[in-house]
Symmetry: C2
Subunit: 211 residues, 2 copies
DNA sequence: GCACTATACGAACGGTCGTGCTATCTTGTC
DNA sequence: GACAAGATAGCACGACCGTTCGTATAGTGC
């Protein structure tokens, strides 16, 4: 009933090179600005001004503000992948990777990859009370991130690098708590000592870094 | 140089009983709605509609939106005092109070005193990148809250209820991290098990509840 | 009970929001 | 080099924003 046939699929609009470049520039700015102004508070006009193009020119790349927000999340996810997940995955599964995930996360805060700290912590706090497609995508990503922590914790336990007592989910929760706190405190006060406190807490939780 | 004399102080406008009642109702709604819509996203019009009065009638109680935001923070602080700090302070200083502060905080999340979780976590995440008087007041309150945790941790250590090893600031940081995580996770997913995880983490940090 | 004034309202302001429409450039394809 | 289509800009819209103003109503101190 009303099922779209393949023939009715969107006609696969071809993209021009300059258009793709513009779109990339827009989303780069959007991902970074959203951690400062918020994903909702970021207006099309200001984003256009900041990108150096007209409001309608920018808007032509998206069918609605919500599509822009979803594309921004996707771009932020790519940045997070490149800056945190990918380097951490270069480490062996288990305790080493768990430490690497934490260290890379804290490093991306310190390097201020996003001016407003962790993108997903920032927009997650904004959209946790706003049901819809945007919130859905954010929460899915957070679940994947937590899953990554849980998997590393479970591997560490199976390798005997960590005691089995707090189950992997609990361990991931406590690690994530320290990372979230580091984001919140460092974004609010800007003092690197507040990142170091998270590292101290992690050492109490995981023991010293392996190797 | 341009120093205000006492005579120039604001003429102490007298308040009527019904006006005070209206103002209280406005701020009650504002404090709760701000955890959902955000302190900036909450518009005068919607707040007025939600309170059952006209936009201009509501606005007459404040000289600007920023004054309304500051008054809202003050009201939220009173609520937090009544729902969390005051009951916790009924406990003896030291480990007992540290546990009470944590439990009362988690309880106020579970009872949904604010629909968007912890007021100061929510608006703190919104304003951490917005310098100004609003952010200043929020950060001052957070410092006071952390100070309360630090003081209780220090007292617990001096009473020999906790090892002296992680200094009180570090201990307070880790406790606060679990509480912040509980707020974020519970607000996003609504699962009480996510509050329980914080309690488990606290037990690993502080040992079992005393008495 | 009267005079005073805090309170509340309706209307309107300049501005910005997201969103369309149309025209004009610019790029890639044959 | 012509031509279809993508990219961008200009303009305008209705809605809502914070804010102001004039005015009617009603609580309070004398």
């Amino acid at each position: 009933m009303n099922q779209p046939t393949p023939a009715e699929a969107p006609p696969e609009r071809r993209r021009r090179a300059d258009g793709r470049r513009s779109r990339d520039a827009i989303l780069d700015n959007a991902a970074r600005l959203a951690t400062v102004e918020g994903l909702e508070g970021l207006s099309i006009g200001r984003l256009a001004e900041h990108t150096g193009m007209s409001k309608s020119g920018l808007y032509a790349h998206f069918t609605s503000k919500q599509e822009l927000q979803l594309a921004t999340i996707e771009r932020a996810q790519e940045i997070f992948e490149a800056e945190v997940l990918s380097p951490a995955r270069a480490n062996a599964d288990g305790l080493q990777r768990l430490w690497a995930l934490s260290d890379e996360f804290l490093s991306h805060l310190e390097r201020e990859v996003f001016p407003g700290g962790c993108f997903f912590a920032a927009v997650g706090a904004e959209f946790d009370t706003h049901p819809g497609r945007v919130r859905e995508r954010i929460s899915v990503f957070i679940e994947e991130w937590v899953g990554e922590l849980v998997a590393a914790a479970a591997a560490a336990q199976q390798a005997g690098e960590l005691p089995a007592d707090p189950d992997p989910e609990q361990l991931a929760y406590e690690v994530d708590a320290l990372l979230l706190m580091a984001h919140a405190a460092y974004t609010m006060y800007g003092d690197p000592a507040l990142l170091e406190r998270a590292r101290v807490g992690l050492a109490r939780l995981l023991g010293p870094r392996p190797e």
